[in-house]
Symmetry: C2
Subunit: 510 residues, 2 copies
């Protein structure tokens, strides 16, 4: 399939929609107070660039005149300052779901000024289709173009856009001419989802299977505004992997090689899922230099490390729901997008993160974390138990149904004031039943087949920073002899005392 428009041509080829072209301010005026608004956007890719800011200006004026204008914002995942930042700054968000990573959003959520529901990314579409969150009043979706027949060419992320377009009463499109027209043909929009009892197997058995269509279908009658834009995606630069990240990557590579040698993983591994960030990129860099060939990815976002693996040929194909690239990688991809088009597939996030598919494909899930405890419980979301950082995102979708679920972090945070291995995590996002491998720069603990007590000793010796090991061993030994029960020995009066000490003194060190 080839692109139907060149970078400089008109992107709105469907004649009736040309009459609905308007400014962002005019479009924002069509969003009522109290509306549930489904916006595009996933890790800074494919979010609307102008309408949210225009809406923020409108909200600011409304507040100035005493009108308590606020909306609920539903997205794919995180977005950008032009969306989450702009709306949060004017106190325009009543309720946010399912994921955010914006500093201003985070500040308001933790100040109790904004409600936030942190949801498994694969669960959102189902919840919206079931009608539980109420009607979706308006969708604001960035697309790369509109074809003659009215089909919409998706942008640099899919996220929940299919659901927003299908479910919304009214749709506002931003047509972004900055997006590469060669994106057309890269997407795979599966139109076979249903609510139970009408669900059938999803016919995907390989990471690179295409099971859907290249464009969104949308009834043109419900498109109430079309806003042309030409704005780049937000892209954050990654710093080069530091020593800790390289060590973590090394431990994971060694583990994967060991599993292949034992015959528990095929030589080309199984489809990879990787979170974002510097550690994830270091692991991918390590894989790109490692011994495995013909790898595949079935993941949420395609980040710099995976692009490099596609370029080198180590990665045969990658399935994701969004790009999450640095400016350099973005420029490189854009210059050569058609070359990658057959090897990259962007899918709706309910498919990229679907438990059925993750289990079937046997994904190797690699995700970052805030902290882990002695028994393998993982906190991915909350600092000191109360403050949200970002959200669980897709880590639960992947970890729970993965063939091997790996969580990783440096052993220390905040210049050594915080041990990321603690007696008991202050919030649990992934339980002991769902965490198989923990990795820090110190080493790797394979928790499979171990009882909680056995896990504790391994986690301390392999993953904790040496400074904290004696305190952790001391905790376990005293808990074992406290008489409270030896399956998962805890001293409840001390279990969270490291976090309390940090809150009181600024360090977990005594």
């Amino acid at each position: 399939m080839t692109a139907s428009f060149s970078p400089d041509s008109d992107r709105i080829l469907h004649a009736p929609l040309r009459s609905r072209i308007m400014s962002a301010d005019e479009a924002a005026a069509l969003i009522p107070s109290g509306a549930h608004v489904g916006m595009s956007g996933f890790t800074g890719a494919g979010y609307p660039k102008l309408v949210p800011a225009a809406l923020a200006r409108r909200i600011e004026s409304a507040h100035a005149s005493g009108d308590p204008f606020r909306i609920s914002v539903w997205t794919g995942a995180s977005t950008a300052p032009e969306l989450d930042g702009a709306l949060a700054k004017v106190d325009g968000i009543e309720m946010r779901l399912p994921y955010q990573s914006d500093p201003e959003c985070r500040r308001r959520i933790n100040a109790g000024q904004m409600e936030y529901i942190d949801i498994h990314l694969s669960h959102v579409a189902q919840a919206v289709w079931s009608g539980f969150f109420g009607p979706l009043d308006v969708a604001v979706v960035e697309v790369a173009g509109v074809l003659e027949d009215g089909r919409l060419v998706p942008s640099s992320s899919i996220g929940n856009n299919k659901t927003w377009i299908d479910r919304a009463d009214r749709v506002i499109l931003e047509v972004n001419a900055w997006q590469n027209p060669a994106l057309h043909g890269m997407h795979d929009i599966y139109y076979g989802t249903q609510l139970p009892p009408r669900r059938v197997p999803i016919p995907l058995v390989r990471a690179d299977d295409r099971i859907g269509e290249s464009c969104f279908r949308c009834d043109p009658d419900k498109i109430i505004a079309v806003v042309p834009t030409r704005h780049p995606d937000r892209n954050s630069a990654f710093s080069a992997p530091d020593e800790n990240s390289r060590r973590i990557a090394g431990h994971i590579l060694e583990f994967l090689e060991h599993e292949v040698k034992k015959g528990r993983l095929p030589r080309e591994l199984l489809p990879l899922q990787s979170g974002v960030g510097n550690i994830a990129n270091a692991v991918l860099e390590g894989l790109n230099e490692g011994p495995f060939e013909n790898m595949t990815a079935f993941t949420e976002v395609l980040q710099d490390g995976m692009l490099a693996m596609l370029k080198s040929g180590k990665l045969r194909c990658a399935s994701a729901t969004a790009f999450s690239l640095s400016p350099d990688a973005q420029a490189e991809l854009n210059a050569d997008l058609a070359r990658y088009r057959d090897r990259i597939i962007l899918r709706p996030q309910e498919i990229s993160n679907h438990p059925e598919l993750i289990r079937r494909l046997g994904v190797i899930a690699m995700n970052g974390m805030i902290e882990a405890d002695l028994y393998g419980n993982v906190n991915s979301t909350h600092l000191m138990g109360s403050q949200i950082m970002n959200g669980i995102g897709g880590s639960g979708d992947f970890a729970r149904n993965a063939y091997i679920s790996i969580f990783m972090t440096p052993s220390l945070a905040k210049d050594g004031a915080i041990s990321c291995i603690v007696p008991m995590v202050s919030h649990v996002d992934h339980t002991e039943h769902d965490v198989q491998v923990l990795v820090t720069e110190q080493g790797l603990a394979d928790l499979r087949g171990l009882s909680p007590k056995q896990r504790a000793r391994l986690v301390i010796d392999r993953c904790a920073h040496p400074d904290f090991r004696p305190m952790l061993h001391d905790y376990v030994e005293r808990a074992l002899h406290s008489g409270a029960g030896r399956q998962t020995p805890h001293l409840l009066g001390e279990a969270l005392s490291w976090h309390q000490r940090y809150l009181a003194t600024g360090t977990m060190r005594p």
Copy 2:
């Protein structure tokens, strides 16, 4: 398909196997010390009745002569005193997985004398096939008979038996003539599972689809012993539902009716999953008297309540991996088994609990719990954070991938000394992301679409016992103003203090 043998006829129709008939003591002598032994058994149904006890006697003698004889015991789920009890009493179990509910096992695990790995029941087969737990040396499996061609007629539970028979180097059969020959034809053994990357969609789209075979296949050459038995399954009587159970059932019925009215559930509901115990039976009793017709069940065990629903016709069909019946219900079923045979399907537990199928069918999951916290985290396994009760069993398989996941408990335990709604649970088995509805006799809290703060107020007002509500409200209000973060407000120094107080004083009351 009709039974090939009558209750009184020979159950071992395959001639070569007749030569391997021996006593339980002779069979037990074939199990070496240190062996990994896969035994049949799921909630007191279909476990071997004689070989484990014979092995326990052998172990006792060995210990008396200074031989540290122990084995690892892998099962479907819980078994019975003749298996777990007998082997635990002689200190014969080195490692136990994936679930137990035996008092002697529990005592030894909590005393630190037995290692126990508490695993999602759907994960066991995959882990064993991948070889991670090491070789499976011996399988000890109860069957209802052996056909002329050597196929094995399954007993009153399937559990992991297919995996044990396929993977074990040697197989010991107990052929139990007590089991009803009309069981033949009730089972559905799916032979399509694979390790990745060779997995394909599981072709089941309705709870009553049959996708497999009625018997186990087994290479006769690896059957080293055949032990004829005629012993009943362990069955525990249920007490009649008490007032609290009836109230919990009432709240759940009202909720389901409300969801149907809102158009979020079909009139026949979606396939039901229900745990075992008196509350579960009360809920099923309520459903049997309620307004819904043509219901289906896709669950783990078929208990008294579901049998009554099958009898009344309210339940069209039930898919499970085992029976878990009281003696009365067992007798009733046995007297009339052929009548139920087309409406009951027993499957391997990797299929009955498979995430792909639970998600596809849209199961309504209803499970008991030990405690829940203000934010919707659920503890299903540990008393006061350290002592294991039974295990997570299939509750995680179902809750995580269910269409609606419901957890229920009376609001008080231990004659009112314990509040089952606490500031922070002492162990997390189901995170805030996976728990949608909490129910106690006080009421029901629908947590969908609520932020943690909103959930807290609802959980207190709807689910907590009035005696503990002021303390819980006070906790949340002080946590909200402590400055630690308002997404999930906690006071870490007090979060587990209710459990500490119970351990110190015998009550959570101040």
